[in-house]
Symmetry: C2
DNA sequence: TGAATAGTGTCTATAAGACAATATCCC
DNA sequence: GGGATATTGTCTTATAGACACTATTCA
């Protein structure tokens, strides 16, 4: 039975005009990270339109009226970089009034993690989608913009405030490492403890003590030995482990 | 000297039409938290308009075209709740397409922390701005919606997805406690170790070991003894401490 | 003087860093 | 066998929890 309040609300909604005020544009930008040769890499796309035409940027796009923010991030990643079904998490929203010269654009940013082995091949757009190596000029979880370098070690200048977004992604990842098995998303199904440590070291940007890393990981209860070992390695082969959670899903 | 690309970009920007596509509305909502009698409290305002007219909600409002997100949050808090100059940090952005019945509204949420002693008196809007006690039905940093209770211990049903926002604020706060002296914002200038422990226990929702809490805090280097002691307490008065950072600012 | 909490000292269990010894693979 | 890394074990040090004891205020 509709109450008087319900009826009043219905009437209100029928006459509501969302365009009575000017609205900002809302975009999503995604920092897709992976590890190559023990370094953090980020997927960049070359801008095909003004403004900042030709500059490297994180894949991004405007949010459609009928899709959730998470869905928008997944769509953008699939459309602009050919990657689908990856791990995504919201990062931060950037909204400085002048961050985009076109108009007011508020960007809701995400970071994505993918194991190198699970990357879909990059779309052949004449080299307009590439990975760049991420150099972090600060320690710990201090935060700040980071720098991207192309395969020839040339520094890449990123469009808009994307260096800040990337920095936020690294900062978040470092924080998560303290209380979540982040390695999950960045490693293949099975892996050695050494590779897991490589992941942690790449994210934290510093060397870790091997003995205590090993003990800590085994004691965490997150890992499960597979019984299998690596092979063809020129030294004693290490046992392969698996994340327990992942296999439960 | 403008390059050809600059000129092309200028031309592009002159003809850019931000309204070629429909835009969502963008709001900020703020969970202002304080501690009363060892419990977390949140500031709520009664909605004065449709939809959800009369329901309790977090103070919020639409983002203006020329203000940053942080500024919008500060403004909303001042206008709707009479609180200014408080500690604010961005929390998360909520954007489910149907979270608001009016139109697509994306809410960029913030949490604020204020010491009870520093609260400005609530505006006398006939009791339409009040604090409610926050009950957290989950442990650790698991997350999920939380429940609000009015001073007569009646459960309050919050408008929209505000129970989720509040839950996210508590979750974030619990996480921050591991690596930041969050107590800062929730205590007066000087305080006893016992009061600092009360803050931590309220946020975490569980009792802490007194001895090791004391040791950990003193060893952290964040605290500075003032030499002064509390008084009129009916037992041995404890020494008053101060946060080092705060006094350096 | 007694109630109540502050503050100190000590003992034990646990986790981290360092280092040595042994194991196992490929060449 | 030699090179290289895995794996196990031990020792030392730092930290957390538990508990006992002393200190200081107000009523």
């Amino acid at each position: 039975m509709p109450t008087r309040n319900d009826q009043a609300e219905d009437a209100f909604l029928r006459t509501y005009d969302p365009d009575a005020y000017e609205h900002p544009s809302v975009a999503v930008d995604v920092a897709l990270l992976t590890l190559t040769d023990g370094d953090i890499s980020v997927l960049l796309v070359r801008r095909q339109e003004h403004p900042e035409l030709g500059k490297w940027s994180l894949p991004g796009g405007f949010v459609h009226m009928d899709e959730s923010l998470d869905d928008a991030a997944q769509r953008v990643l699939a459309d602009k970089a050919g990657q689908s079904g990856v791990f995504l998490e919201q990062l931060y929203s950037f909204g400085a009034p002048d961050r985009d010269p076109r108009t007011r654009v508020i960007s809701i940013t995400y970071y994505a993690l993918v194991a190198e082995e699970k990357l879909q091949p990059l779309p052949r757009d004449g080299g307009d989608v590439e990975f760049a190596s991420v150099h972090v000029p600060w320690a710990g979880e201090q935060g700040g913009p980071v720098e991207a370098y192309d395969p020839r070690d040339q520094r890449i200048s990123l469009a808009f405030d994307h260096a800040d977004i990337l920095g936020m992604a690294v900062k978040r990842l470092r924080g998560k490492l303290n209380y979540t098995p982040v390695g999950f998303q960045l490693l293949p199904e099975t892996f050695t403890l050494r590779r897991l440590q490589d992941v942690h070291e790449a994210i934290l940007g510093r060397k870790l003590n091997k003995d205590s890393f090993r003990r800590r990981m085994l004691a965490s209860g997150e890992l499960e030995p597979t019984g299998a070992h690596e092979s063809e390695v020129g030294h004693r082969p290490a046992e392969l482990y698996r994340f327990k959670e992942r296999s439960a899903i």
